[in-house]
């Protein structure tokens, strides 16, 4: 059972479909034995944020920037079961003030995506994801920290209808995200307007919901989306205070996504804009990616 990766110049002939998308939030699957690896660069900035619900700027931060590079393989276990992995390296900076930027390897994510039901163009998908922190980064030096150090487990139900003839589709999904407690370097901190005399911090669980409308063709895809992500509990940033992992962060995002992949090589891009939020930055973000399809050579 020796396997090796083979470039897909000829694999395109062997496989009926070429490398499709590789997101844990779409209804697109890799074929059995196909692996699509995405190399992604992400860039996200905000110069205004919601301190609790007060929208403000901060001259001691100026524009806050988070950048990342990430490897994200999507693996076709079967045509109805895919696995998606990702591991980003993240770095932060500000245009003003004196907060030291942070950098490092963040969290390894794994998603299992199953097409559980398919009738005509309608399909139902069950998706489970988990993540583990890989780097020993500081989680509570907000807003400079590159992550929260949580272990997470997410369950997602995704419904999709695709019009077979035109490729027009609509996708909607909702998720529940469990997040572990974290440990910080301090042994006392303020949250919920009280002191916890311990180094353990309760990070609130999350939910998300999204609606996506787009066109999926053999060689390209275009989509417009809106997403709502929020915590199920948590406290609120106090007047002129900094954020903390216990905060109930909420955001509504709108954006567009596109992918072009005429052969084994492809590119994708996503642009998102936070239009409303609480305890969060009004981020403008984009991601660009290079996609490459490999094939497991059959024994």
């Amino acid at each position: 059972m020796r396997t090796h990766l083979k470039m897909m110049v000829c694999a395109a002939l062997l496989l009926p479909a070429i490398c499709q998308a590789q997101m844990p939030h779409d209804a697109i699957y890799m074929n059995k034995n196909a692996v699509c690896v995405a190399g992604l660069y992400g860039h996200s900035t905000w110069s205004q944020y919601w301190e609790n619900s007060l929208k403000r700027e901060n001259l001691n931060i100026g524009t806050h920037t988070t950048q990342s590079v990430m490897v994200m393989p999507a693996i076709g276990i079967s045509k109805r079961v895919n696995v998606i992995l990702s591991l980003p390296y993240v770095w932060t900076s500000t245009s003003a003030g004196n907060l030291l930027g942070q950098r490092g390897v963040q969290d390894l994510s794994a998603w299992l995506k199953v097409n559980a039901f398919q009738r005509g163009g309608f399909s139902v998908h069950a998706i489970v994801g988990g993540s583990l922190p890989m780097g020993n980064y500081v989680p509570d030096f907000q807003p400079m920290s590159i992550g929260m150090q949580c272990r997470t487990l997410t369950g997602r139900l995704l419904l999709n209808y695709k019009h077979p003839a035109t490729g027009l589709y609509v996708t909607t999904h909702g998720s529940y995200g469990w997040r572990s407690n974290i440990r910080i370097d301090r042994d006392a901190y303020l949250a919920d307007d009280r002191i916890y005399n311990v180094n353990q911090v309760n990070v609130p669980n999350t939910y998300d919901a999204a609606l996506r409308v787009g066109v999926l063709r053999r060689k390209w895809q275009a989509e417009a989306f809106t997403e709502r992500t929020a915590c199920l509990s948590g406290d609120y940033i106090r007047r002129n205070d900094m954020p903390f992992p216990t905060n109930n962060a909420k955001a509504t995002i709108v954006g567009v996504y596109a992918r072009v992949q005429p052969r084994n090589i492809g590119v994708n891009a996503r642009v998102g804009q936070v239009i409303d939020g609480v305890n969060t930055g009004q981020s403008t973000s984009y991601t660009v990616g290079l996609l490459y399809l490999f094939n497991w050579k059959k024994p």
Binding site: V81, L99, L112, R186, I195, N240, P299
Partner: protein
């Protein structure tokens, strides 16, 4: 092929299982809770210990109690039986909470209030920083901004009021010597350990009222919160079957009288002029005359007026103004001198190569915005050490008063030094910070001064833990270099001065009649 798929899926399931298994699903926070104890020593002669503000326990008065065989007392006993017989869950929780120690709990409450109020005011649209208003404490910005000097002072007055009140309490306990209710009547089943000493007045009621009075003045926006704490503490003594109503009311009267005298000192200690910003012009001119080529400038945008530039005039506890001037550290290196350049280069290297352990130390001791500040950190350390040692209430209060007055003296000396030298932060030479930049001059380090002072006092009280306290102080000191906001000389000189400051409190403790 199917085997491979199943094995992969199996692995994935295992991974998922690992994620869940490693964490469990529980998200409760395990905070260890201190418990009640019987003191190892009752300190029965503490009524003779030297007080800070009172000249003698008889500065305050307390009426003689009704005898235990009087009808008045018997009626109180019968009432106590009813109150302590069956408790709701909330009442039981209150008994357990306050049973951990009256001084201990009020110190903890004060630290929490300090943390909650430790937020610098936001700037207004026209780039100004409004000053918190004691007469309107809940408006934006809230009063007080409980920064380190403010918190050092609030905790010092709290501890002094508790200590003076408890010395008076021990004095009157000995004089009136009325037994505990459960000793008088075995039908009373106390919920907490009962010490073999007089229960008139109730030391809990004394501490509750003294603490309440100080904290109400220090955190005037928290009166309803403090009212509730006071009432719960007083009631918990009845629910626990520990004190009859007249023990509590006598304690309340005594605590109130002592706290009034302590707060009279607070009102005239110079704090009201500590934020006098008009003095900075003269300070800058003086330091330039002495040769400083670059003075401290606020690195915030818009520029924020420096924190309490006139705090150095506040009245010290354990030495006088002349002594303070005498122990003020020598001048820091000239800007651009080899010593300065070496110190700055050391920070540049840390910025480039900061290890995770350095970041951990910087974060652990940061005690910045939203924390109980370094004075609060050391109060916590002191309270826990005294609790572990099963100190009596009066000895616990003595410990915190010695540490607390040393910390306030450290704040005064350090702020005097900071504004005397008006020395720039490393951020004026391009450094960043991983802990946040305080808005006042660099030299000397406040953390180092606080920590040196507190560690010396605690080492005197708990000699077997001296190495540990000194190691903690050194770590707190160097943490400010790891956080990139202090030069090595800020830390080392601050630490040395802090130790001197602490030794004055230690000397006072040696001479306070406690024999400790």
């Amino acid at each position: 092929m199917n085997n491979r798929i199943y094995s992969f899926l199996g692995n994935l399931l295992i991974l998922t299982g690992v994620v869940v298994g490693m964490t469990g699903c529980s998200k409760t926070i395990d905070e260890s809770q201190p418990v009640a104890y019987l003191p190892t020593n009752l300190d029965e002669t503490a009524g003779n210990w030297k007080t800070y503000v009172l000249t003698s326990p008889t500065d305050v008065t307390l009426a003689a109690p009704a005898a235990t065989n009087s009808t008045t007392y018997q009626a109180e006993l019968s009432d106590l039986k009813t109150q302590s017989k069956t408790l709701t869950t909330e009442q039981q929780q209150a008994v357990t909470y306050w049973g951990a120690g009256a001084v201990y709990r009020w110190n903890e409450i004060a630290r929490e209030l300090s943390a909650r109020y430790n937020l610098p005011p936001a700037s207004t649209a026209d780039g100004k920083y409004p000053v918190p208003d004691a007469a309107n404490p809940l408006a934006d910005p809230r009063f007080p901004f409980a920064n380190p000097p403010y918190t050092a002072r609030a905790l010092a007055y709290l501890s002094v009021a508790q200590y003076d009140a408890l010395v008076a309490t021990w004095y009157y306990k000995k004089q009136y010597n009325r037994a505990a209710p459960s000793t008088v009547d075995s039908g009373i089943k106390p919920a907490l350990p009962v010490a073999a000493m007089s229960s008139y007045p109730s030391e809990d009621a004394v501490v509750a009222m003294a603490s309440y009075t100080v904290l109400k003045a220090m955190f005037p926006g928290e009166v309803p919160y403090l009212d509730a704490k006071l009432a719960e503490h007083q009631n918990s003594r009845l629910w626990a079957g520990m004190n009859v109503a007249s023990d509590v009311s006598a304690g309340t009267s005594l605590g109130s009288q002592v706290a009034a005298k302590v707060m009279a000192r607070a009102k005239t200690d110079g704090m009201s002029t500590s934020n006098n910003q008009s003095v900075t012009g003269g300070m800058i001119k003086d330091v330039q005359t002495r040769g400083l080529s670059e003075v401290w400038v606020s690195q915030e945008s818009p520029a924020r007026p420096p924190m309490l530039p006139n705090y150095g005039v506040v009245k010290t506890w354990n030495f006088d103004q002349a002594t303070m001037v005498k122990i003020r550290p020598d001048a820091p290196p000239a800007i651009g001198s080899p010593e300065f350049t070496k110190a700055l280069d050391e920070l540049k290297t840390i910025q480039r190569t900061q290890t995770r352990e350095q970041a951990r130390v910087a974060n652990y001791w940061a005690d910045g915005v939203g924390s109980y500040t370094p004075p609060g950190h050391w109060h916590r350390t002191a309270a826990n050490a005294a609790h572990d040692a099963r100190y009596s209430e009066v000895r616990m209060a003595r410990t915190l008063a010695l540490v607390g007055t040393a910390l306030m003296d450290a704040a005064i000396c350090c702020w005097d030094t900071k504004y005397y030298y008006y020395y720039p932060r490393p951020q004026q030479f391009g450094l960043k910070t991983s802990v946040g930049l305080p808005n006042f001059p660099a030299y000397t380090s406040g953390h180092s001064t606080f920590s040196g002072a507190a560690a010396v006092v605690l080492s005197g009280i708990f000699p077997d833990q001296a190495d540990d306290f000194m190691a903690k102080a050194n770590e707190a000191s160097v943490s400010r270099m790891y956080g990139l906001i202090h030069y090595r000389f800020d830390c080392e000189v601050g630490m040395a001065c802090g130790k001197k400051i602490g030794s004055f409190a230690t000397a006072r403790g040696k001479a306070d009649g406690s024999g400790l």
